[in-house]
Amino acid sequence: MLCDRCKQRPATVHFTKIINNEKYEQHLCEECSKEISQFAFGSHQGFSLNKFLANLINYDPSFGGVELGYRAERCDNCGLTYTQFTQGGKLGCNHCYQAFENKLDPLLKRIHSSRIHKGKVPERAGGKLKVEKEIESLRNELQRLVGREEFEKAAEVRDKIKELEKKLAG
């Protein structure tokens, strides 16, 4: 899982906060969590991230570097909360499907009997998806090669990835 904030480094710090009865979970890398604890939480009276984390760890014995069942309650892109969705029946944007995935999947299965799209793929966007899929599999290969210390081959694969990424951007 990547850090919610920088979306680059792996998330190693996980915490939950409750604001107005709404539960928020955040998953951060070490750097980001340090930065946040300095200002964002500094303004909260008597709130310390460490204490918060400590309580959380005490509360949940399985916690400690292990991922908690991730469940975002608010979509980062459009701001819709899951509660709002359950009240209005409408999602807010395409990102909502990911943000509420855990809750939506059983719902989709109940409505549709299957969760995997079998129909039309838009031609242009579909082309992009193909490239994305290719990049994904090359990344896996890259990891495997690095693991086996086959750096020469790894470099080749890395170049291929870069090329495809350029194609995606262009």
Partner: protein, 360 residues
């Protein structure tokens, strides 16, 4: 009033010709599409909705897609009167929800009105193709063509696993709702309709009244549509709905045959009475008109009444709706005035079709 082009008398589907036209009034395919990264319409401020409407206008306005049916014209619903918007609803070109909404909502109509694109309804785009009679495949191909055309200019919200992402999760996947409007007086008169409809939900189909969700089925008209949109292909949806529709057509024909055989005289009396009232009444409510028009159509279909084109039904069920009546009259009408006007229009149309025979 503006938007004169939007208010034509006939939509393509009202012509009423095609396979199984005696039972299937129209076939419709609707595709829900959204623009990637942009929040769905219910979360958008007016200025962003206007941007989307302008974007769609730039893409389709004046364009002829697939070499037929004429060019598209995009209209901002704000430019239409309430009456004009309801005429579009009565012709099934926009949804009742769309007509009632505020803000920069729009509709792109092809000249023949076989294709309409609702802009900023529940989803950014709802591409709809509406054809007469049993033409589900044709409707899907046409809608698909328009979809491809628009996709050349817009990145749709699409996910490898979940397909087209829609505002309501009930539409995700193909984003497709295919439906047929069926005229089933035989099943209703033989009291089999409810029994037939009860089985539909078990096979993933929904039955509704003429104007969609929550509307009453008047004139023995029913809309049958698919429920499931995810995990099935567009072709699956079309072929499933088609095969079920063909079975219902069989049952309807069988019921009509049984009515003719076991109560031929009563049926003949009934349809001629319907004709009698329709061609002579001076005051008629919508409910009564719809019921009698259905019986008249049955009489024509069964060869009991000759000399009237069966497709007059398709025209009259729209012409006698509230908004259409007032649009034709050019003034707002009270409910009583509407009943007068409705009776007049039906009388005129029926006698026209009988070669100008006087009915007074």
């Amino acid at each position: 009033m503006s938007g004169t082009n939007v208010i034509r008398l006939n939509s393509k589907w009202m012509e009423g010709s095609g396979p199984n036209q005696d039972i299937v009034i129209s076939s419709r395919v609707r595709l829900a599409r959204n623009i990637k990264e942009i929040p769905f319409p219910h979360l958008l401020p007016e200025n962003r909705e206007r941007e989307i409407l302008d974007m769609v206008k730039n893409i389709v306005e004046g364009k002829v897609i697939g070499n037929q049916g004429g060019a598209f014209e995009v209209t901002n619903l704000l430019e239409l009167s309430t009456l004009e918007k309801w005429v579009l609803v009565e012709k099934h070109l926009i949804s009742p929800e769309h007509a009632q909404s505020n803000g920069p909502k729009g509709v792109a109509l092809r000249v023949d009105e076989a294709i309409s694109i609702m802009v900023n309804e529940e989803d950014h785009l709802r591409i709809q193709c509406l054809l007469p009679a049993m033409q589900l495949n044709e409707a899907w191909h046409l809608a698909n063509q328009v979809d491809n055309f628009i996709e050349e200019s817009i990145d749709f919200a699409f996910d490898r696993e979940k397909g087209y992402l829609t505002s309501c999760p009930t539409n995700v996947g193909t984003g497709m709702r295919a439906s047929v409007m069926l005229h089933l007086p035989g099943l209703v008169l033989t009291r089999q309709a409810n029994q037939v409809f009860a089985t539909m939900s078990q096979i993933g189909l929904t039955v509704r009244g003429m104007y969609g969700e929550g509307t009453e089925a008047s004139g023995n008209l029913f809309q049958l549509s698919n429920q499931v949109t995810l995990g099935v292909s567009e072709e699956d949806i079309i072929s499933h709905l088609s095969s079920v529709t063909l079975q219902i057509i069989e049952q309807e024909r069988y019921a009509r045959k049984a009515l003719m055989k076991e109560g031929g005289e009563q049926l003949e009396d009934r349809v001629w009475r319907a004709y009698g009232v329709l061609s002579h009444a001076r005051i008629i409510t919508s409910r009564e008109a719809m019921g009698l028009l259905s019986e008249l159509r049955l009489g024509i279909d069964q060869g009991l009444i000759k000399g009237i084109d069966a497709r007059i039904f398709n025209t009259l069920i729209v012409l006698t709706q509230q908004a259409f009546l007032q649009k034709t009259a050019g003034v707002e009408l009270s409910p009583f005035q509407r009943d007068l006007k409705r009776a007049e229009i039906i009388r005129t149309k029926l006698t026209e079709k009988l070669g100008g025979e006087k009915n007074d």
